[in-house]
C-alpha cells in the first residue's frame, strides 16, 4: 500500500513538473503607458501588479512599464498610484507583447486613502466597514501654524467637536465625540501617538482659578502627518475600555526613501504672527469698558522649524527641530515650546521592519489668573463697583482693581515647565508569507514643575502682603505595550481573509507633590526656603494598569463584500478589589454596490456599511473599595476621617454602538459620506449622593445608569473644477447629536458645582436645568412687584451644539492656493456668569437702565426717564428686569448659536520663478503664505466668546462663561524653504 502511494506521489510530482515546464514555456510580456486622464501627462512611479501571480512593475520617467515573461493566460491586473483611483481590470496575456495603456483619474474624493480601522488594521477608505475620518495634517501645516489639536482638527471631522476651554495660550481642550459615550469617565477620547497612549490630562494650579494647562499643548502639530479618528465603540471596540469616546490616532511624519537611490530633503520654515482681542463690541455693555479693553494686548508668535528627512532603500529618517514662542492676548500669558523629533525606519531584511519614533519637548507656559478668581485681570475689571468720579458723579465700573491692585496682578507668576519624551519602538517581522508579527513598546514620560509666586509687598487675597510661593511637581510615566500577529490568506478564490490576535498592556504611574510657603522676607530672595510660614504640602500617587487580549477575523470577497468579527477581553487594576474585566465584541460589514449592480455612469462608487461594537468606561481606581479613610491636618494634629465609600464588585460601564453608513461618489467629483449611529450605555457608573446626614461625603459609585445617544454625520466633498492649472475643492461637514439620560438608578439629579448643568433622567447630558423665570409680577397698580418664576426646574438648552459643522474651500490656480474654513454651531446655549456677576457689582449698563426705566434706584442712568406703570413699555422693561434677577439663573442662559470664519490662508509657491532664475538647483521650493484665524464671528450670545468654558476642559460644568479668556483673532505670515 505504502509503495503504491509512493509511486503515485512521485508520478504526480513528475507530471506536475512536466505541466509546469510546459506552462512556462509559453509567455508574453505586458507593457503600456499610464497617463493622467485629465491632463494626459504621463505618471511616473505608478504601480502595475498582476495580482494572480504577484508580479509587477513601476512606470519609468516616460510613464511606461513592462512586465516580461508572463505566462499566457487571463489575469487580474491592478494599476495604482498615490492620489489616483486604483484600476483593476482583466487582461489576457498572449505570447509576445501585450500592450495595455491606462488612463488614471485623480482620486478627488479620497477613496484610496488608507485609513486606520482598528487596533491592528488599516484599509482603504473604499472598503472600510466603519466610519473613519482622517485629517491630513501636513496639508494644513504646510501653510499655517497650528498651536494645538483643537486648532488643527476643529471643524474638519463630522462627529468630532473640539472645544477650547478658553483663549489662553496653552489652555486645555475638550473633545466632543459623537454623543459622548457613557456617563462615567472624562468623556474624552483615548489618544495614541505613534502607538503610544499619551497623557491627555488637564492640569490646574492650586486654587487660583484660570484654565489650567492641557498636556496636549506639548505636542507640535508640525510633526504630525495625519490624525485618524475612530469615533465610537463600533470602530474602537478593540481598543477596549476607555475607547467609548473614540480613539484618536496621531501619526508623525516619517522619511521617504527612493528605491535604488538615497535622498535627503531639508525644509526650513518660519512663521511670524500676531493675536488680537476681538470683543471690544461686547465689553461696551459694562461700565468699565476701557479698563477691560486695557488688559488685552497684541500677542506675537514666532515659530521656526527645520526638518530634514530622507532615506535609502534600507533606512529612512525624519527629524525636526521646532521652536514656538507664542504670546497670549493678555499679560503674563505665553508659551515657549521647543520640540525635537527623530523618526527612523529600517528595513535590514525583506521580512523585517524596525521603526523608532522619538519626540522630546520642552514647554514653558505662563498663565494669567482668570475666571472665578479675585486676582484675575477680568475679575478686577468686569467686577468693578460704581464710584464717584472727579466731577462728583456716580460712575459705573469706577472701582476697578478693587480686589487686587494691577501692580500685584502683574507681579504674580504662574509658570509651568514641562519636559516630555514620547517615543516608541516597533518591530514587524514576517517569518512566513502572509504572516506579520508586530511588537511595540511606547513610553510617554512627562516631568512638570509649576511655580506659583505671589510677590510680597502688594495685597493679594490669601497671603495678604506677605508673599507666597508654591511649587508643584508632577511626574507622569505611561507605558504602552502592543503585540499582535496578523495572518492573511485566501479561503477560496476571491475570498481573502485575515486573522489578527493580539494583546495590549498599559501601565501608568503618576506622582505629584506640592508645597506652599508664605511670608517671604524679601522682594529679591524669594525661594521657597525664604518663606517663614508653612501653608501646606501634599503628594498624590497613582499606579494603574490595564490589559486587553483581542481577536479579529476579517473577510473580503473581491473588494465587494467585506466583513469583520472580533472581540476584546479587558482587565484593569483596582484598589485591593476584584479586577474589573469585561468582554467587548464587535462586528461589521460593508458591500460595494457599484461592484454588484450596474449603476448609472454618474455613480462610480456606492458602498453601504454597518457596524456594531461595544466599549466601556473603567470605574475609578478606588470605586471598588468598601470604605477608605484619609488624613487631615488640623490644629489638633493629623487625624483620620472617612474619605470614600465605594461599591465592591463594581463593573466597568458598557457602551454599545451601532452605526450605518452610506458612501458614494457621483459624477466622479462629488463624494458623500453619511453615517447614522445609535449609542446605548448601560451599567453606567452613577455617583449616588447619599443624604449628607448619613455621614458619607462622597458620591457612591453604582452600575445603575443609562444614557442613549444618536446622531447623524455627513461629509460632502465637491471638486467642480480640476484642470492642469486649476483645482477647486468645496467641502462641508455636518453633525447632529442628541443624548438622553435614561436611568440614574433612582438617584436624584446630579448637578455641576454651580447647580446648572445636570444629569437627569429624560434630559440631555449636561442640560442647563434651572427654574424658569416667566417675567415680572405686578401689583394692582401695575408696578413691578417681583419675579414670576417656576418653583421646579426645567430644561433650558444644552451647552453642546445639537447641530454643528463647517464649510471649507480649497482652491489652487497654478502656484497659488487658498483655503478657507467656516465653522458653525446651532442650537447651543451658554450660561453668562460674567453678566450675572457684573450685575451683582452694578457694572452692567442695561441693568441700571432698566432700573431707571422702572423708577428704581439706579447708577449712571439718571438721564433715563421712568416709564409709567401699566404701559406696555413698562411691562416689557419689568419683564426684562425680572429675568436678570440674581436669584434665578434662567435669565442668564443664552442661546449662543455662532458662526466663525475660522481659517483663511493664501499661499504662493515660487517654483516657477526659481526655475526661471536657475535657482532650482539650490532651492527646491519656496512657499510664502499668509493666514488668519477667527477673523469674523457672529453669534446670538451677548458675551464675548460662545465657545469657552470657565471650568476648564473636564468638569461637569459645561458652557459656562465666567470671566473667561476669549479666543483671539490671529494672523500669520509663513515662509517655507525646501532644499
Amino acid at each position: 500500500m505504502f509503495k503504491k502511494l509512493l509511486i503515485l506521489t512521485i508520478a504526480s510530482l513528475f507530471a506536475g513538473l512536466a505541466w509546469a515546464d510546459q506552462a512556462t514555456a509559453q509567455t508574453g510580456s505586458l507593457t503600456g503607458t499610464i497617463t493622467d486622464r485629465s491632463t494626459g501627462e504621463t505618471l511616473i512611479g505608478a504601480s502595475v501588479l498582476i495580482t494572480d501571480i504577484d508580479r509587477g512593475a513601476v512606470t519609468d520617467v516616460d510613464g511606461s512599464y513592462t512586465i516580461s515573461d508572463v505566462p499566457t493566460g487571463t489575469y487580474n491586473v491592478r494599476f495604482s498610484y498615490i492620489g489616483y483611483r486604483t484600476i483593476s481590470q482583466e487582461v489576457e496575456v498572449q505570447s509576445g507583447t501585450n500592450n495595455v495603456d491606462v488612463e488614471m483619474r485623480v482620486d478627488v474624493t479620497g477613496l484610496e486613502d488608507v485609513v486606520v480601522t482598528g487596533i491592528a488594521s488599516s484599509t482603504s477608505r473604499a472598503i472600510s466597514e466603519v466610519a473613519v475620518s482622517r485629517v491630513d495634517a501636513s496639508e494644513y501645516t504646510a501653510t499655517q501654524s497650528y498651536a494645538d489639536l483643537s486648532q488643527l482638527v476643529g471643524g474638519k471631522i463630522a462627529g468630532v467637536g473640539v472645544q477650547p476651554s478658553g483663549g489662553t495660550v496653552g489652555a486645555g481642550i475638550r473633545f466632543n465625540v459623537r454623543s459622548g459615550g457613557g456617563i462615567g469617565g472624562s468623556g474624552q477620547p483615548v489618544i495614541y501617538m505613534d502607538g503610544v497612549r499619551i497623557d491627555n490630562s488637564q492640569l490646574t494650579g492650586l486654587g487660583r482659578g484660570g484654565q489650567g494647562t492641557g498636556t496636549l499643548a506639548d505636542i507640535n502639530m508640525d510633526e504630525v502627518a495625519s490624525i485618524d479618528f475612530l469615533k465610537g465603540p463600533a470602530a474602537a471596540a478593540l481598543y477596549g475600555t476607555n475607547g467609548s469616546n473614540g480613539v484618536v490616532l496621531i501619526t508623525t511624519k516619517r522619511g521617504q526613501g527612493t528605491p535604488g537611490q538615497g535622498s535627503v530633503s531639508v525644509n526650513v520654515r518660519t512663521t511670524q504672527g500676531a493675536s488680537d482681542f476681538i470683543g471690544q463690541d461686547q465689553t461696551e455693555q459694562f461700565g468699565s469698558t476701557e479698563a477691560i479693553n486695557d488688559v488685552f494686548r497684541t500677542g506675537t508668535l514666532d515659530h521656526r522649524s527645520v526638518r530634514v528627512s530622507g532615506g535609502t532603500e534600507f533606512i529612512r529618517f525624519n527629524t525636526s527641530v521646532d521652536q514656538r514662542l507664542e504670546e497670549g492676548i493678555m499679560d503674563r500669558n505665553y508659551m515657549d515650546r521647543q520640540n525635537f523629533r527623530a523618526n527612523f525606519d529600517a528595513f535590514p531584511r525583506e521580512d523585517l521592519t524596525l521603526s523608532v519614533s522619538a519626540g522630546y519637548s520642552w514647554n514653558e507656559i505662563q498663565l494669567p489668573d482668570n475666571d472665578n478668581n479675585v486676582i484675575g485681570y477680568l475679575g478686577n475689571t468686569v467686577l468693578a463697583t460704581p464710584g464717584v468720579n472727579e466731577d462728583g458723579d456716580v460712575e459705573l465700573g469706577f472701582n476697578t482693581y478693587s480686589f487686587t491692585a494691577r501692580e500685584a496682578i502683574d507681579g504674580i507668576e504662574d509658570v509651568s515647565r514641562t519636559t516630555r519624551f514620547i517615543g516608541s519602538a516597533q518591530v514587524q517581522y514576517r517569518p512566513i508569507e502572509n504572516l506579520e508579527i508586530t511588537g511595540s513598546i511606547g513610553y510617554d514620560g512627562g516631568d512638570l514643575r509649576r511655580d506659583e509666586f505671589i510677590p510680597p509687598g502688594f495685597f493679594v487675597t490669601g497671603p495678604g502682603t506677605a508673599g507666597e510661593r508654591t511649587i508643584v511637581n508632577r511626574i507622569n510615566q505611561q507605558y504602552t505595550y502592543d503585540f499582535n500577529a496578523r495572518y492573511n490568506y485566501d479561503i477560496v478564490s476571491g475570498l481573502e481573509a485575515s486573522t489578527v490576535v493580539g494583546t495590549q498592556l498599559f501601565d501608568r504611574t503618576l506622582r505629584s507633590q506640592d508645597f506652599t510657603k508664605r511670608t517671604l522676607g524679601s522682594q529679591v530672595v524669594t525661594n521657597i526656603g525664604s518663606g517663614a510660614d508653612f501653608i501646606g504640602g501634599d503628594e498624590n500617587f497613582l499606579n494603574i494598569r490595564e490589559a486587553g487580549v483581542f481577536l479579529e477575523q476579517t473577510f473580503n470577497y473581491e473588494n465587494t463584500y467585506m466583513g469583520t468579527i472580533g472581540g476584546r477581553q479587558d482587565f484593569a487594576a483596582a484598589f485591593r478589589g476584584d479586577v474589573p474585566n469585561i468582554f467587548y465584541p464587535k462586528v461589521s460589514a460593508a458591500v460595494r454596490l457599484d461592484n454588484v449592480f450596474d449603476l448609472p455612469e454618474w455613480s462610480s462608487f456606492l458602498k453601504l456599511r454597518a457596524a456594531y461594537g461595544e466599549s466601556g468606561q473603567l470605574p475609578d481606581f478606588n470605586d471598588g473599595s468598601a470604605r477608605l479613610w484619609s488624613a487631615v491636618n488640623s490644629g489638633y494634629g493629623t487625624g483620620g476621617i472617612l474619605d470614600f465609600v465605594g461599591t465592591p464588585g463594581i463593573e466597568p460601564e458598557r457602551i454599545r454602538e451601532v452605526e450605518f453608513g452610506l458612501e458614494a461618489e457621483l459624477f466622479e467629483r462629488l463624494g458623500l459620506d453619511l453615517t447614522y449611529y445609535i449609542q446605548r450605555a448601560e451599567d453606567s457608573i452613577i455617583g449616588f449622593r447619599e443624604p449628607p446626614s448619613t455621614g458619607i461625603t462622597n458620591l457612591i459609585p453604582f452600575n445603575v445608569g443609562g444614557i442613549n445617544g444618536n446622531g447623524f454625520e455627513a461629509a460632502l466633498t465637491y471638486t467642480p473644477i480640476e484642470t492642469e492649472n486649476t483645482k477647486i475643492d468645496i467641502g462641508t461637514t455636518y453633525t447632529y447629536q442628541n443624548t438622553e439620560v435614561t436611568d440614574l438608578g433612582g438617584a436624584q439629579p446630579i448637578f455641576d458645582g454651580f447647580s446648572l448643568n445636570v444629569l437627569e433622567v429624560g434630559q440631555r447630558r449636561s442640560e442647563f436645568y434651572v427654574a424658569k423665570v416667566h417675567g415680572a409680577l405686578f401689583d394692582e397698580n401695575g408696578v413691578y412687584a417681583g419675579v414670576d418664576a417656576e418653583s421646579e426646574r426645567s430644561a433650558h438648552g444644552n451647552p453642546i451644539p445639537v447641530h454643528s459643522g463647517a464649510f471649507t474651500l480649497n482652491a489652487q490656480w497654478k502656484n497659488f492656493s487658498a483655503y478657507a474654513q467656516v465653522d458653525y454651531a446651532y442650537d447651543v446655549y451658554v450660561y453668562n456668569n460674567t453678566k450675572y456677576f457684573a450685575i451683582n457689582f452694578r457694572n452692567f449698563e442695561r441693568y441700571e437702565e432698566l432700573r431707571a426705566l422702572l423708577g428704581l434706584s439706579n447708577i449712571g442712568a439718571d438721564d433715563v426717564d421712568a416709564l409709567t406703570p401699566g404701559t406696555p413699555e413698562y411691562e416689557s422693561a419689568a419683564n426684562e428686569f425680572a429675568k436678570q434677577n440674581l436669584g434665578y439663573d434662567s435669565g442668564f442662559i443664552e442661546r449662543a448659536d455662532w458662526l466663525k470664519l475660522r481659517e483663511v490662508s493664501l499661499s504662493y509657491n515660487f517654483r516657477d520663478i526659481l526655475e526661471r532664475f536657475g535657482a532650482d538647483g539650490y532651492v527646491n521650493s519656496l512657499n510664502v503664505s499668509i493666514a488668519g484665524r477667527n477673523l469674523f464671528t457672529t453669534s446670538k450670545y451677548s458675551g464675548i466668546d460662545p465657545e469657552v468654558n470657565f471650568a476648564g476642559a473636564r468638569s461637569l460644568s459645561r458652557g459656562q462663561d465666567f470671566l473667561t479668556m476669549p479666543q483671539p483673532r490671529q494672523y500669520y505670515f509663513t515662509v517655507s524653504l525646501g532644499f
Binding site: 490669601g462 490644629g635 483620620g640 446626614s693 455621614g695 440674581l886
Partner: protein
C-alpha cells in the same frame, strides 16, 4: 511552519488571559488612604480621635460665619473690595430675595453641612470601633468614649439647632421671629426626618453627654454641664438649665475651644478677617467700644485696612486663632439670666455674675438692675462671633426686620428673608424623602 506558528500564537493567546489578570493587579499601593479594617487597632485610635476633633473645628468655624451673618452680628459689606460671595450676601439677607433653589444650593452651606454629617458619623463610628478592638487600655478606651459621645452630641447640636427645614412664619416673603421659630429648626440624622432642637436635645444629645460624663475629667464634666445648660436655656427649660449651669464651668476654667492651623484655618480669616474681608461686624459693636473703650477687651474690632471708615473683627486675627465654643463667662451669664429673668436661684446674685464676667476683661462693673436688655447686650458682647446670637434673637423676639449692610448698596434696607436657621441644602433634600421642600 504555519501550523507551528498557529499553535504558538494560540497558546500565547490562551495564557495571556491569566497573565493579564495577574499583571494588572500587580500595582504599587496607594499611601494616601487606608481601608476601614486597617484602623481597627489601638495604635490608630489617637489618629481617629484627632480626626473627630479636626472635623469639629472645620464645621464650627464655618457654621459660625453663616449663623452670625444670618443673625445680626455680621454684615456682608459690599463696600469691602473683596466681598464677592453671593452666598454670604444671601445668608446676610436670611435667604430673602432669592428662590428656594438658590437658598438650597448655597455652596457655603453645602461646604460645612456635608462635613457636619461626616463629623457625626466618625464620632459615632469610634464608639462602635472600640468594641472590635482587643487590648485597648482603659485610658485610651475612655478617651475614645468621651470623644465619640461628646463630639457626637456637639454634631447633633449643630444639626438640630442651626439647620432649618423650612422658613419661619406665615409670610414667606419676610418671615417672622420669636421662640416659635425653634419649631422650624432641625435637620436629619442618618437620612431620617428632621429632628427639631427639643427632640434632638432630649433624645440624642443629653444621653450622649451623659455617656461622655461617665468617663470625663472634672473639667470635662463642667464643660458638659455648661453645654447642657446652654441648650436647655434655649429651649426654655430653665429649672434644668440652672441646675446644670450651677455645676458648669467656673472662673479659671480654660475656654473649650476649636483649634485651627494654617492648614485648617479659622474661617473668619478669609471670610471676615485679614485674609479677606467680606463680612464686618454690625456697626453697633463699634458703638459699644465707642461708649466704653474697655469693651475693646472683648469686642475685638479694629479699623479695616482696606477701608478705615469701617471695622473688621479682630477676635480671630490669624488663621490659627482658636475659637471659643464654651466658656465660664457664658456659664456665668446664663446663671445671671436664669436668676434675673427666669426665677431661678437668687435674683440679686445676677449683677455680681455679670460684673464678674466684665471684670475678667478689665471692664468696669455696672450698677443697677439686671434686666433683659442688659442680659441681651452683655451676651451680645461676650459671645461675639460665637454663633449663639441667633438664638438670643429668637428667644427674646429680637429678629431684625431689614437687611443690614452698607447704606445705599446691595440689599441693605430691604426686608429680611424668612429663614431663621440655615436652610438644609439640596444635597439632603434631594436624597432624603423625609425632608420636605420647605413649603410645608
Amino acid at each position: 511552519m504555519k501550523k507551528l506558528s498557529f499553535i504558538i500564537l494560540a497558546t500565547l493567546f490562551a495564557f495571556s488571559f491569566t497573565a493579564c489578570e495577574n499583571w494588572v493587579q500587580n500595582v504599587e499601593p496607594q499611601n494616601d488612604v487606608a481601608e476601614d479594617e486597617a484602623l481597627d487597632s489601638a495604635e490608630e485610635i489617637p489618629f481617629l480621635i484627632t480626626g473627630i476633633e479636626s472635623r469639629f473645628a472645620f464645621v464650627y468655624t464655618r457654621l459660625t460665619v453663616s449663623a452670625d451673618l444670618a443673625a445680626d452680628q455680621l454684615i456682608f459689606d459690599t463696600e469691602m473690595p473683596l466681598a464677592t460671595f453671593p452666598t454670604y450676601r444671601d445668608a446676610n439677607a436670611n435667604w430673602g430675595n432669592v428662590g428656594n433653589q438658590t437658598a438650597y444650593s448655597d455652596n457655603t452651606t453645602r461646604g460645612f453641612y456635608t462635613q457636619l454629617g461626616g463629623f457625626r458619623f466618625i464620632s459615632d463610628d469610634i464608639l462602635e470601633r472600640i468594641t472590635r478592638i482587643d487590648g485597648l487600655s482603659d485610658n485610651l478606651r475612655n478617651e475614645a468614649i468621651f470623644t465619640g459621645n461628646f463630639y457626637g452630641a456637639v454634631a447633633r447640636y449643630f444639626t438640630g439647632f442651626y439647620m432649618a427645614e423650612r422658613p419661619c412664619g406665615v409670610d414667606a416673603a419676610v418671615g417672622s421671629g420669636g421662640p416659635a421659630c425653634f419649631e422650624t429648626l432641625g435637620a436629619p440624622i442618618d437620612g431620617g426626618p428632621s429632628i427639631n432642637p427639643r427632640d434632638m436635645a432630649v433624645d440624642q444629645i443629653l444621653p450622649k453627654l451623659a455617656a461622655a460624663e461617665a468617663v470625663a475629667s472634672p473639667y470635662q464634666q463642667r464643660v458638659i454641664n455648661t453645654f447642657r445648660a446652654r441648650m436647655l436655656l434655649f429651649l426654655g427649660e430653665y429649672d434644668d438649665a440652672y441646675s446644670f449651669a450651677l455645676d458648669g464651668m467656673e472662673d479659671g476654667d480654660a475656654p473649650f475651644q476649636s483649634l485651627h492651623s494654617v492648614q485648617s484655618a479659622n474661617n473668619f480669616y478669609f471670610a471676615a478677617g485679614i485674609g479677606r474681608i467680606q463680612a464686618i461686624p454690625d456697626y453697633r459693636f463699634a458703638e459699644y467700644v465707642d461708649e466704653d473703650p474697655a469693651e475693646a477687651n472683648r469686642v475685638k474690632i479694629v479699623p479695616a485696612e482696606v477701608n478705615p471708615d469701617r471695622f473688621r473683627q479682630d477676635l480671630y486675627p490669624a488663621q490659627e486663632s482658636p475659637m471659643d465654643f464654651l466658656t465660664w463667662q457664658e456659664n456665668e451669664l446664663m446663671l445671671a439670666e436664669l436668676e434675673a429673668l427666669h426665677g431661678q436661684g437668687v435674683a440679686a446674685n445676677a449683677l455680681g455674675r455679670v460684673n464678674a464676667v466684665r471684670a475678667s476683661h478689665d471692664i468696669d462693673p455696672i450698677v443697677g438692675i439686671v434686666d433683659q436688655d442688659l442680659i441681651v447686650e452683655e451676651r451680645d458682647k461676650e459671645l461675639f462671633l460665637q454663633s449663639v446670637r441667633m438664638f438670643d434673637q429668637l428667644r427674646f423676639n429680637l429678629w431684625h426686620s431689614e437687611v443690614q449692610g452698607t447704606p445705599g448698596t446691595g440689599l441693605t434696607g430691604t426686608a429680611i428673608g424668612p429663614w431663621r436657621g440655615i436652610p438644609i441644602p439640596n444635597d439632603e433634600r434631594n436624597q432624603n424623602p423625609d425632608v420636605g421642600d420647605g413649603t410645608d
